[in-house]
Assembly symmetry: C2
Homo-oligomer: 275 residues x 2
Protein backbone atom coordinates (compact mmCIF):
# COMPACT_ATOMS: atom_id res chain seq x y z
CA UNK A 1 0.00 0.00 0.00
CA UNK A 2 1.26 3.44 -0.88
CA UNK A 3 1.38 6.19 1.72
CA UNK A 4 0.43 9.68 0.69
CA UNK A 5 1.84 12.90 2.09
CA UNK A 6 -0.34 15.99 1.85
CA UNK A 7 0.82 19.56 2.39
CA UNK A 8 -2.03 21.90 3.14
CA UNK A 9 -0.76 24.91 1.22
CA UNK A 10 -3.68 26.99 2.48
CA UNK A 11 -6.59 26.07 4.70
CA UNK A 12 -8.47 24.98 1.58
CA UNK A 13 -5.98 23.61 -0.94
CA UNK A 14 -3.11 21.16 -0.83
CA UNK A 15 -0.73 19.04 -2.81
CA UNK A 16 -0.62 15.29 -2.24
CA UNK A 17 2.20 12.95 -3.20
CA UNK A 18 2.80 9.21 -3.13
CA UNK A 19 5.56 8.33 -0.67
CA UNK A 20 7.73 5.27 -1.16
CA UNK A 21 9.61 5.54 2.10
CA UNK A 22 10.28 7.86 5.02
CA UNK A 23 14.04 8.24 5.20
CA UNK A 24 14.33 10.34 8.36
CA UNK A 25 12.11 12.22 10.80
CA UNK A 26 13.31 14.39 13.62
CA UNK A 27 12.26 17.33 15.72
CA UNK A 28 15.37 19.51 15.60
CA UNK A 29 16.01 22.47 17.89
CA UNK A 30 14.22 24.65 15.35
CA UNK A 31 11.64 22.68 13.40
CA UNK A 32 10.21 19.33 12.37
CA UNK A 33 12.48 17.82 9.70
CA UNK A 34 11.31 15.00 7.46
CA UNK A 35 13.11 13.44 4.54
CA UNK A 36 10.92 11.24 2.37
CA UNK A 37 11.28 9.42 -0.92
CA UNK A 38 8.45 10.40 -3.28
CA UNK A 39 7.47 8.51 -6.40
CA UNK A 40 7.09 11.63 -8.55
CA UNK A 41 9.84 13.95 -7.41
CA UNK A 42 12.55 11.75 -5.87
CA UNK A 43 13.82 12.51 -2.38
CA UNK A 44 12.11 15.46 -0.73
CA UNK A 45 12.93 17.62 2.29
CA UNK A 46 10.06 18.84 4.46
CA UNK A 47 10.39 21.42 7.23
CA UNK A 48 7.40 21.82 9.53
CA UNK A 49 5.39 19.83 7.00
CA UNK A 50 6.15 22.17 4.08
CA UNK A 51 7.94 21.08 0.91
CA UNK A 52 11.37 22.72 0.83
CA UNK A 53 13.02 20.97 -2.06
CA UNK A 54 12.83 17.82 -4.16
CA UNK A 55 15.44 16.14 -6.32
CA UNK A 56 13.38 16.49 -9.50
CA UNK A 57 12.31 20.14 -9.47
CA UNK A 58 14.91 21.80 -7.21
CA UNK A 59 16.81 23.13 -10.21
CA UNK A 60 14.20 25.79 -10.90
CA UNK A 61 14.41 27.45 -7.52
CA UNK A 62 18.16 27.12 -7.14
CA UNK A 63 19.01 28.36 -10.63
CA UNK A 64 16.60 31.28 -10.47
CA UNK A 65 17.53 32.45 -6.95
CA UNK A 66 21.20 32.41 -7.98
CA UNK A 67 21.83 33.26 -11.60
CA UNK A 68 19.53 36.27 -11.83
CA UNK A 69 21.38 38.23 -9.10
CA UNK A 70 24.82 36.84 -9.99
CA UNK A 71 24.59 37.86 -13.65
CA UNK A 72 23.25 41.24 -12.57
CA UNK A 73 26.41 41.95 -10.59
CA UNK A 74 29.34 42.51 -13.00
CA UNK A 75 31.97 40.81 -10.80
CA UNK A 76 30.54 38.98 -7.78
CA UNK A 77 33.41 37.78 -5.60
CA UNK A 78 31.95 37.16 -2.16
CA UNK A 79 28.45 35.74 -1.95
CA UNK A 80 26.37 35.00 1.15
CA UNK A 81 23.47 32.55 1.29
CA UNK A 82 21.21 32.95 4.33
CA UNK A 83 19.35 29.70 4.95
CA UNK A 84 19.65 27.31 2.03
CA UNK A 85 21.07 24.49 4.13
CA UNK A 86 20.25 22.00 1.40
CA UNK A 87 23.18 23.46 -0.55
CA UNK A 88 21.41 23.95 -3.89
CA UNK A 89 21.98 27.69 -4.08
CA UNK A 90 25.66 27.22 -3.22
CA UNK A 91 26.01 24.64 -6.01
CA UNK A 92 24.73 27.20 -8.53
CA UNK A 93 26.84 30.06 -7.07
CA UNK A 94 29.98 28.04 -7.69
CA UNK A 95 29.22 27.89 -11.42
CA UNK A 96 30.24 31.58 -11.59
CA UNK A 97 34.03 31.72 -12.02
CA UNK A 98 34.31 35.21 -10.50
CA UNK A 99 33.15 33.91 -7.11
CA UNK A 100 36.10 33.55 -4.73
CA UNK A 101 34.12 32.74 -1.59
CA UNK A 102 30.58 31.55 -0.91
CA UNK A 103 29.39 31.69 2.70
CA UNK A 104 26.39 29.70 3.87
CA UNK A 105 24.72 30.66 7.15
CA UNK A 106 22.10 28.08 8.05
CA UNK A 107 20.48 28.12 11.50
CA UNK A 108 19.73 24.40 11.59
CA UNK A 109 22.74 22.12 11.26
CA UNK A 110 20.43 19.14 10.90
CA UNK A 111 19.21 20.45 7.53
CA UNK A 112 22.79 20.41 6.24
CA UNK A 113 23.47 16.99 7.75
CA UNK A 114 20.47 15.27 6.21
CA UNK A 115 20.71 17.10 2.89
CA UNK A 116 24.26 15.77 2.55
CA UNK A 117 23.00 12.28 3.36
CA UNK A 118 19.82 12.13 1.26
CA UNK A 119 20.12 14.93 -1.31
CA UNK A 120 23.69 14.48 -2.53
CA UNK A 121 23.07 16.00 -5.98
CA UNK A 122 21.91 19.17 -4.22
CA UNK A 123 24.25 19.35 -1.22
CA UNK A 124 27.38 17.95 -2.86
CA UNK A 125 29.03 21.33 -3.43
CA UNK A 126 29.02 22.26 0.27
CA UNK A 127 32.44 20.60 0.59
CA UNK A 128 34.01 22.75 -2.16
CA UNK A 129 37.01 24.70 -0.88
CA UNK A 130 35.50 28.05 -1.88
CA UNK A 131 32.60 27.40 0.51
CA UNK A 132 32.42 28.42 4.16
CA UNK A 133 29.56 26.81 6.09
CA UNK A 134 28.37 28.45 9.33
CA UNK A 135 25.66 26.99 11.51
CA UNK A 136 24.35 30.25 12.87
CA UNK A 137 21.39 32.61 13.04
CA UNK A 138 21.21 34.46 9.71
CA UNK A 139 19.60 37.49 11.30
CA UNK A 140 22.46 37.85 13.80
CA UNK A 141 25.07 37.17 11.11
CA UNK A 142 23.66 39.96 8.96
CA UNK A 143 23.47 42.32 11.94
CA UNK A 144 27.23 41.99 12.46
CA UNK A 145 28.34 42.22 8.82
CA UNK A 146 29.51 45.51 7.27
CA UNK A 147 30.08 45.98 3.54
CA UNK A 148 31.18 42.38 3.33
CA UNK A 149 29.26 40.90 0.40
CA UNK A 150 28.69 41.56 -3.28
CA UNK A 151 25.53 39.47 -3.43
CA UNK A 152 23.31 38.08 -0.65
CA UNK A 153 20.63 35.47 -1.26
CA UNK A 154 17.92 34.92 1.33
CA UNK A 155 17.00 31.30 0.76
CA UNK A 156 14.57 31.01 3.66
CA UNK A 157 11.59 28.89 4.54
CA UNK A 158 8.19 30.50 4.50
CA UNK A 159 7.63 33.08 7.25
CA UNK A 160 6.76 30.66 10.03
CA UNK A 161 9.11 29.23 12.66
CA UNK A 162 12.75 30.31 12.57
CA UNK A 163 12.35 32.35 9.35
CA UNK A 164 9.88 34.94 10.67
CA UNK A 165 12.61 37.49 11.33
CA UNK A 166 13.88 37.11 7.76
CA UNK A 167 10.75 38.82 6.43
CA UNK A 168 11.06 41.91 8.64
CA UNK A 169 12.10 45.35 7.52
CA UNK A 170 14.94 45.43 10.05
CA UNK A 171 16.48 42.42 8.36
CA UNK A 172 16.52 44.17 4.99
CA UNK A 173 18.15 47.23 6.61
CA UNK A 174 20.82 44.91 7.96
CA UNK A 175 21.32 43.44 4.51
CA UNK A 176 21.83 46.91 3.06
CA UNK A 177 24.63 47.47 5.59
CA UNK A 178 26.11 44.02 5.00
CA UNK A 179 26.39 44.62 1.25
CA UNK A 180 29.25 46.44 -0.43
CA UNK A 181 28.40 49.89 -1.88
CA UNK A 182 27.44 48.31 -5.22
CA UNK A 183 25.89 45.13 -3.78
CA UNK A 184 22.51 43.58 -4.30
CA UNK A 185 20.38 40.89 -2.69
CA UNK A 186 17.50 38.62 -3.51
CA UNK A 187 14.86 37.07 -1.26
CA UNK A 188 12.33 34.40 -2.05
CA UNK A 189 8.99 36.12 -1.49
CA UNK A 190 6.42 33.32 -1.73
CA UNK A 191 3.51 33.20 -4.18
CA UNK A 192 1.11 35.95 -5.20
CA UNK A 193 -1.98 33.71 -5.39
CA UNK A 194 -2.23 32.69 -1.76
CA UNK A 195 0.14 35.21 -0.09
CA UNK A 196 -0.44 38.49 -1.94
CA UNK A 197 -0.10 40.63 1.21
CA UNK A 198 3.29 39.13 2.02
CA UNK A 199 4.76 40.01 -1.38
CA UNK A 200 3.24 43.50 -1.27
CA UNK A 201 4.64 44.18 2.21
CA UNK A 202 8.13 42.87 1.50
CA UNK A 203 8.27 44.79 -1.79
CA UNK A 204 7.33 48.02 -0.03
CA UNK A 205 9.90 47.47 2.72
CA UNK A 206 12.69 46.71 0.27
CA UNK A 207 11.74 49.61 -1.98
CA UNK A 208 12.09 52.03 0.93
CA UNK A 209 15.65 50.82 1.54
CA UNK A 210 17.09 50.08 -1.92
CA UNK A 211 17.11 52.42 -4.95
CA UNK A 212 16.37 49.52 -7.33
CA UNK A 213 13.71 46.95 -6.42
CA UNK A 214 12.51 44.30 -8.88
CA UNK A 215 10.26 41.23 -8.67
CA UNK A 216 10.59 38.18 -10.88
CA UNK A 217 8.91 34.79 -11.06
CA UNK A 218 9.59 31.12 -11.72
CA UNK A 219 7.43 28.02 -12.02
CA UNK A 220 8.02 25.51 -9.21
CA UNK A 221 5.56 22.60 -9.38
CA UNK A 222 5.90 21.53 -5.75
CA UNK A 223 5.44 25.02 -4.28
CA UNK A 224 2.00 26.52 -3.58
CA UNK A 225 0.29 27.71 -6.79
CA UNK A 226 3.37 26.82 -8.85
CA UNK A 227 4.19 30.52 -9.32
CA UNK A 228 7.05 31.67 -7.12
CA UNK A 229 8.31 35.21 -6.68
CA UNK A 230 11.77 36.55 -5.90
CA UNK A 231 12.45 40.16 -4.97
CA UNK A 232 15.76 41.89 -5.64
CA UNK A 233 16.97 44.96 -3.77
CA UNK A 234 20.00 46.54 -5.42
CA UNK A 235 22.17 49.56 -4.68
CA UNK A 236 23.40 50.15 -8.22
CA UNK A 237 22.85 47.39 -10.80
CA UNK A 238 19.47 46.83 -12.41
CA UNK A 239 18.67 43.15 -13.01
CA UNK A 240 16.44 44.10 -15.95
CA UNK A 241 19.34 45.89 -17.69
CA UNK A 242 22.10 43.33 -17.91
CA UNK A 243 24.35 43.75 -20.95
CA UNK A 244 24.15 40.69 -23.17
CA UNK A 245 27.95 40.43 -23.03
CA UNK A 246 27.68 39.75 -19.29
CA UNK A 247 26.07 36.35 -19.76
CA UNK A 248 28.46 33.44 -19.99
CA UNK A 249 27.38 29.91 -20.77
CA UNK A 250 26.22 27.85 -17.81
CA UNK A 251 24.93 24.34 -17.60
CA UNK A 252 21.33 24.86 -16.53
CA UNK A 253 17.95 23.17 -16.84
CA UNK A 254 15.69 26.20 -16.32
CA UNK A 255 17.66 29.46 -16.50
CA UNK A 256 18.55 31.09 -19.80
CA UNK A 257 19.52 34.73 -20.42
CA UNK A 258 16.22 35.22 -22.29
CA UNK A 259 14.29 33.76 -19.37
CA UNK A 260 16.22 36.03 -16.97
CA UNK A 261 14.74 39.04 -18.76
CA UNK A 262 11.31 37.48 -19.30
CA UNK A 263 10.93 36.55 -15.63
CA UNK A 264 10.50 40.25 -14.78
CA UNK A 265 7.37 40.58 -16.97
CA UNK A 266 4.77 40.10 -14.26
CA UNK A 267 1.15 39.05 -14.61
CA UNK A 268 -1.12 42.09 -14.39
CA UNK A 269 -2.53 41.10 -10.98
CA UNK A 270 0.99 40.81 -9.58
CA UNK A 271 1.96 44.22 -11.00
CA UNK A 272 -1.12 45.63 -9.31
CA UNK A 273 -0.03 44.22 -5.93
CA UNK A 274 3.16 46.27 -6.14
CA UNK A 275 1.52 49.64 -6.70
CA UNK B 1 -17.30 18.38 8.11
CA UNK B 2 -15.58 19.55 4.94
CA UNK B 3 -15.40 17.31 1.91
CA UNK B 4 -12.22 17.24 -0.08
CA UNK B 5 -11.90 16.68 -3.82
CA UNK B 6 -8.61 15.27 -5.08
CA UNK B 7 -7.50 15.20 -8.70
CA UNK B 8 -4.76 12.69 -9.31
CA UNK B 9 -2.77 14.70 -11.83
CA UNK B 10 -0.40 11.78 -12.34
CA UNK B 11 -0.31 8.36 -10.72
CA UNK B 12 1.83 9.84 -7.97
CA UNK B 13 0.79 13.46 -7.42
CA UNK B 14 -2.46 15.30 -6.98
CA UNK B 15 -4.15 18.51 -5.94
CA UNK B 16 -6.72 18.45 -3.16
CA UNK B 17 -9.34 21.12 -2.48
CA UNK B 18 -11.96 21.73 0.19
CA UNK B 19 -15.45 21.49 -1.27
CA UNK B 20 -18.34 23.45 0.22
CA UNK B 21 -21.03 21.93 -1.95
CA UNK B 22 -21.59 19.78 -5.03
CA UNK B 23 -23.79 21.82 -7.34
CA UNK B 24 -24.38 19.27 -10.10
CA UNK B 25 -23.16 15.82 -11.16
CA UNK B 26 -24.10 14.07 -14.35
CA UNK B 27 -22.82 11.49 -16.77
CA UNK B 28 -23.37 13.23 -20.11
CA UNK B 29 -23.23 11.51 -23.49
CA UNK B 30 -19.51 12.29 -23.58
CA UNK B 31 -18.05 12.49 -20.08
CA UNK B 32 -18.61 12.79 -16.34
CA UNK B 33 -19.51 16.40 -15.53
CA UNK B 34 -19.28 17.77 -11.99
CA UNK B 35 -19.78 21.32 -10.83
CA UNK B 36 -18.60 21.96 -7.28
CA UNK B 37 -18.19 24.97 -5.05
CA UNK B 38 -14.63 25.10 -3.68
CA UNK B 39 -13.52 27.20 -0.74
CA UNK B 40 -10.33 28.41 -2.41
CA UNK B 41 -11.24 28.91 -6.05
CA UNK B 42 -15.02 29.49 -6.15
CA UNK B 43 -17.16 27.35 -8.43
CA UNK B 44 -15.23 24.76 -10.39
CA UNK B 45 -16.03 22.63 -13.44
CA UNK B 46 -14.68 19.07 -13.54
CA UNK B 47 -14.82 16.80 -16.60
CA UNK B 48 -13.93 13.15 -16.03
CA UNK B 49 -12.54 14.18 -12.64
CA UNK B 50 -10.12 16.75 -14.07
CA UNK B 51 -10.20 20.46 -13.21
CA UNK B 52 -11.31 22.39 -16.29
CA UNK B 53 -11.84 25.85 -14.90
CA UNK B 54 -12.48 27.70 -11.66
CA UNK B 55 -13.94 31.14 -11.05
CA UNK B 56 -10.82 32.43 -9.31
CA UNK B 57 -8.03 31.43 -11.70
CA UNK B 58 -9.82 31.02 -15.06
CA UNK B 59 -8.65 34.41 -16.24
CA UNK B 60 -5.11 33.17 -16.79
CA UNK B 61 -6.01 30.43 -19.22
CA UNK B 62 -8.70 32.39 -21.04
CA UNK B 63 -6.67 35.56 -21.45
CA UNK B 64 -3.57 33.73 -22.58
CA UNK B 65 -5.27 31.37 -25.02
CA UNK B 66 -7.02 34.36 -26.61
CA UNK B 67 -5.01 37.55 -26.56
CA UNK B 68 -1.70 36.09 -27.71
CA UNK B 69 -3.09 34.83 -31.06
CA UNK B 70 -5.57 37.70 -31.47
CA UNK B 71 -2.93 40.40 -31.08
CA UNK B 72 -0.66 38.43 -33.41
CA UNK B 73 -3.22 38.65 -36.24
CA UNK B 74 -3.44 42.25 -37.50
CA UNK B 75 -7.21 42.21 -38.15
CA UNK B 76 -9.00 39.10 -36.81
CA UNK B 77 -12.60 39.17 -37.98
CA UNK B 78 -13.87 35.62 -37.73
CA UNK B 79 -12.66 33.52 -34.82
CA UNK B 80 -13.42 29.88 -34.06
CA UNK B 81 -13.17 28.28 -30.63
CA UNK B 82 -13.13 24.47 -30.66
CA UNK B 83 -14.23 23.18 -27.26
CA UNK B 84 -14.30 25.91 -24.66
CA UNK B 85 -17.94 25.34 -23.74
CA UNK B 86 -17.47 27.27 -20.51
CA UNK B 87 -17.40 30.42 -22.64
CA UNK B 88 -14.29 32.00 -21.15
CA UNK B 89 -12.32 32.14 -24.39
CA UNK B 90 -15.31 33.69 -26.18
CA UNK B 91 -15.58 36.35 -23.47
CA UNK B 92 -11.98 37.36 -24.14
CA UNK B 93 -12.34 37.19 -27.95
CA UNK B 94 -15.15 39.74 -27.79
CA UNK B 95 -12.81 42.27 -26.17
CA UNK B 96 -11.19 42.68 -29.61
CA UNK B 97 -13.19 45.25 -31.57
CA UNK B 98 -12.10 43.89 -34.98
CA UNK B 99 -13.92 40.61 -34.32
CA UNK B 100 -17.19 40.45 -36.24
CA UNK B 101 -18.10 36.88 -35.50
CA UNK B 102 -16.99 34.33 -32.89
CA UNK B 103 -18.06 30.73 -33.44
CA UNK B 104 -18.00 28.20 -30.62
CA UNK B 105 -18.12 24.50 -31.47
CA UNK B 106 -18.51 22.46 -28.30
CA UNK B 107 -19.28 18.76 -28.50
CA UNK B 108 -21.06 18.57 -25.15
CA UNK B 109 -24.09 20.84 -24.78
CA UNK B 110 -24.25 20.04 -21.08
CA UNK B 111 -20.98 21.87 -20.52
CA UNK B 112 -22.51 25.03 -21.98
CA UNK B 113 -25.74 24.55 -20.02
CA UNK B 114 -24.10 24.16 -16.62
CA UNK B 115 -21.44 26.80 -17.27
CA UNK B 116 -24.22 29.30 -17.93
CA UNK B 117 -25.92 28.24 -14.71
CA UNK B 118 -22.97 28.03 -12.32
CA UNK B 119 -20.15 30.02 -13.98
CA UNK B 120 -21.99 33.14 -15.15
CA UNK B 121 -18.90 35.40 -15.01
CA UNK B 122 -17.23 33.00 -17.46
CA UNK B 123 -20.12 31.98 -19.71
CA UNK B 124 -22.03 35.27 -19.75
CA UNK B 125 -20.76 36.38 -23.15
CA UNK B 126 -22.13 33.33 -24.97
CA UNK B 127 -25.38 35.25 -25.51
CA UNK B 128 -23.62 38.16 -27.25
CA UNK B 129 -25.00 38.75 -30.74
CA UNK B 130 -21.57 38.35 -32.37
CA UNK B 131 -21.43 34.78 -31.02
CA UNK B 132 -22.61 31.66 -32.81
CA UNK B 133 -22.81 28.57 -30.58
CA UNK B 134 -22.82 25.13 -32.23
CA UNK B 135 -23.14 21.92 -30.28
CA UNK B 136 -21.13 19.75 -32.62
CA UNK B 137 -18.00 17.63 -33.02
CA UNK B 138 -15.07 20.02 -33.44
CA UNK B 139 -13.12 17.50 -35.49
CA UNK B 140 -15.96 17.18 -38.01
CA UNK B 141 -16.56 20.92 -38.05
CA UNK B 142 -12.92 21.56 -38.90
CA UNK B 143 -12.97 18.84 -41.59
CA UNK B 144 -15.75 20.69 -43.43
CA UNK B 145 -14.40 24.24 -43.13
CA UNK B 146 -12.37 25.86 -45.93
CA UNK B 147 -10.48 29.14 -45.52
CA UNK B 148 -13.16 30.29 -43.12
CA UNK B 149 -11.33 31.64 -40.08
CA UNK B 150 -8.66 34.18 -39.23
CA UNK B 151 -7.87 32.63 -35.87
CA UNK B 152 -8.78 29.23 -34.41
CA UNK B 153 -8.37 28.38 -30.74
CA UNK B 154 -8.37 24.74 -29.65
CA UNK B 155 -9.64 24.98 -26.09
CA UNK B 156 -9.84 21.26 -25.43
CA UNK B 157 -9.72 19.00 -22.43
CA UNK B 158 -6.67 16.83 -21.94
CA UNK B 159 -6.23 14.07 -24.53
CA UNK B 160 -8.59 11.57 -22.94
CA UNK B 161 -12.26 10.99 -23.78
CA UNK B 162 -13.80 13.11 -26.53
CA UNK B 163 -10.68 15.26 -27.03
CA UNK B 164 -8.31 12.50 -28.17
CA UNK B 165 -8.83 13.37 -31.86
CA UNK B 166 -7.96 17.01 -31.16
CA UNK B 167 -4.35 16.05 -30.52
CA UNK B 168 -3.87 14.18 -33.79
CA UNK B 169 -1.87 15.35 -36.77
CA UNK B 170 -4.90 15.01 -39.07
CA UNK B 171 -6.74 17.56 -36.97
CA UNK B 172 -3.97 20.13 -37.40
CA UNK B 173 -3.99 19.50 -41.16
CA UNK B 174 -7.72 20.22 -41.11
CA UNK B 175 -7.09 23.41 -39.18
CA UNK B 176 -4.60 24.55 -41.79
CA UNK B 177 -7.31 24.15 -44.47
CA UNK B 178 -9.96 25.82 -42.29
CA UNK B 179 -7.80 28.91 -41.82
CA UNK B 180 -7.60 31.78 -44.27
CA UNK B 181 -4.29 32.12 -46.16
CA UNK B 182 -2.89 34.37 -43.43
CA UNK B 183 -4.56 32.61 -40.51
CA UNK B 184 -3.14 31.15 -37.33
CA UNK B 185 -4.25 28.87 -34.55
CA UNK B 186 -3.40 28.03 -30.96
CA UNK B 187 -3.87 24.81 -29.02
CA UNK B 188 -3.48 24.19 -25.31
CA UNK B 189 -0.70 21.61 -25.10
CA UNK B 190 -0.66 20.52 -21.45
CA UNK B 191 2.32 20.76 -19.11
CA UNK B 192 5.96 19.91 -19.77
CA UNK B 193 6.65 18.46 -16.31
CA UNK B 194 4.29 15.48 -16.40
CA UNK B 195 3.46 15.32 -20.15
CA UNK B 196 6.71 16.16 -21.94
CA UNK B 197 6.13 13.64 -24.76
CA UNK B 198 2.74 15.14 -25.58
CA UNK B 199 4.13 18.64 -26.05
CA UNK B 200 7.06 17.33 -28.08
CA UNK B 201 4.79 15.31 -30.37
CA UNK B 202 2.24 18.09 -30.94
CA UNK B 203 5.00 20.60 -31.58
CA UNK B 204 6.58 18.33 -34.19
CA UNK B 205 3.24 17.71 -35.91
CA UNK B 206 2.36 21.40 -36.05
CA UNK B 207 5.84 22.38 -37.21
CA UNK B 208 5.52 20.02 -40.19
CA UNK B 209 2.31 21.76 -41.27
CA UNK B 210 2.80 25.45 -40.41
CA UNK B 211 5.75 27.64 -41.42
CA UNK B 212 5.73 29.40 -38.01
CA UNK B 213 5.37 27.33 -34.80
CA UNK B 214 5.84 28.83 -31.35
CA UNK B 215 5.29 27.61 -27.78
CA UNK B 216 4.43 29.88 -24.83
CA UNK B 217 3.55 29.34 -21.19
CA UNK B 218 1.32 30.62 -18.42
CA UNK B 219 0.94 29.87 -14.72
CA UNK B 220 -2.35 28.19 -13.85
CA UNK B 221 -2.46 27.15 -10.17
CA UNK B 222 -5.22 24.53 -10.54
CA UNK B 223 -3.63 22.76 -13.54
CA UNK B 224 -1.00 20.03 -13.16
CA UNK B 225 2.42 21.47 -12.27
CA UNK B 226 1.08 25.03 -12.55
CA UNK B 227 3.01 25.54 -15.83
CA UNK B 228 0.79 25.37 -18.88
CA UNK B 229 1.87 25.44 -22.50
CA UNK B 230 0.15 26.74 -25.61
CA UNK B 231 1.38 26.06 -29.13
CA UNK B 232 0.72 28.39 -32.06
CA UNK B 233 0.80 27.33 -35.70
CA UNK B 234 0.74 30.29 -38.06
CA UNK B 235 0.80 30.71 -41.84
CA UNK B 236 2.23 34.21 -41.90
CA UNK B 237 2.29 36.21 -38.66
CA UNK B 238 4.90 35.55 -35.97
CA UNK B 239 3.51 35.91 -32.43
CA UNK B 240 6.98 36.84 -31.15
CA UNK B 241 7.16 39.77 -33.59
CA UNK B 242 4.06 41.83 -32.92
CA UNK B 243 4.52 45.54 -33.55
CA UNK B 244 3.99 47.48 -30.33
CA UNK B 245 1.43 49.64 -32.13
CA UNK B 246 -0.76 46.56 -32.56
CA UNK B 247 -1.52 46.30 -28.86
CA UNK B 248 -4.59 48.17 -27.71
CA UNK B 249 -5.60 48.49 -24.09
CA UNK B 250 -7.66 45.62 -22.70
CA UNK B 251 -9.04 45.04 -19.28
CA UNK B 252 -7.08 41.99 -18.11
CA UNK B 253 -5.85 40.40 -14.91
CA UNK B 254 -2.96 38.36 -16.32
CA UNK B 255 -2.13 39.36 -19.91
CA UNK B 256 -0.01 42.38 -20.71
CA UNK B 257 1.88 43.10 -23.95
CA UNK B 258 5.17 42.62 -22.07
CA UNK B 259 3.97 39.27 -20.76
CA UNK B 260 2.87 38.28 -24.30
CA UNK B 261 6.50 38.56 -25.40
CA UNK B 262 7.97 37.12 -22.20
CA UNK B 263 5.72 34.03 -22.33
CA UNK B 264 7.73 32.74 -25.32
CA UNK B 265 10.98 32.63 -23.30
CA UNK B 266 10.89 28.96 -22.35
CA UNK B 267 12.68 27.20 -19.52
CA UNK B 268 15.76 25.38 -20.83
CA UNK B 269 14.27 21.91 -20.29
CA UNK B 270 11.19 22.90 -22.32
CA UNK B 271 13.35 24.30 -25.14
CA UNK B 272 15.20 21.00 -25.15
CA UNK B 273 11.93 19.07 -25.58
CA UNK B 274 11.29 20.94 -28.83
CA UNK B 275 14.59 20.10 -30.51
Amino acid sequence: MTDWFTEKQTEHVGVTMAIEETLHSEKTAFQQLDMVKTRQFGNMLLLDGMVMTTEKDEFVYHEMVTHVPLFTHPHPKHVLVVGGGDGGAIREVLKHPSVEKATLVEIDGKVIEYAKKYLPTIAGSLSDNRVEVKVDDGFAHIAHAKEAYDVIMVDSTEPVGPAVKLFERGFYEGIARALKPDGLFVAQTDNPWFQPELLAKVYTDIQEIFPITRVYTANIPTYPSGLWTFTIGSKQYDPTKVASTRFHTLETKYYTPALHMAAFALPKFVQDLLK
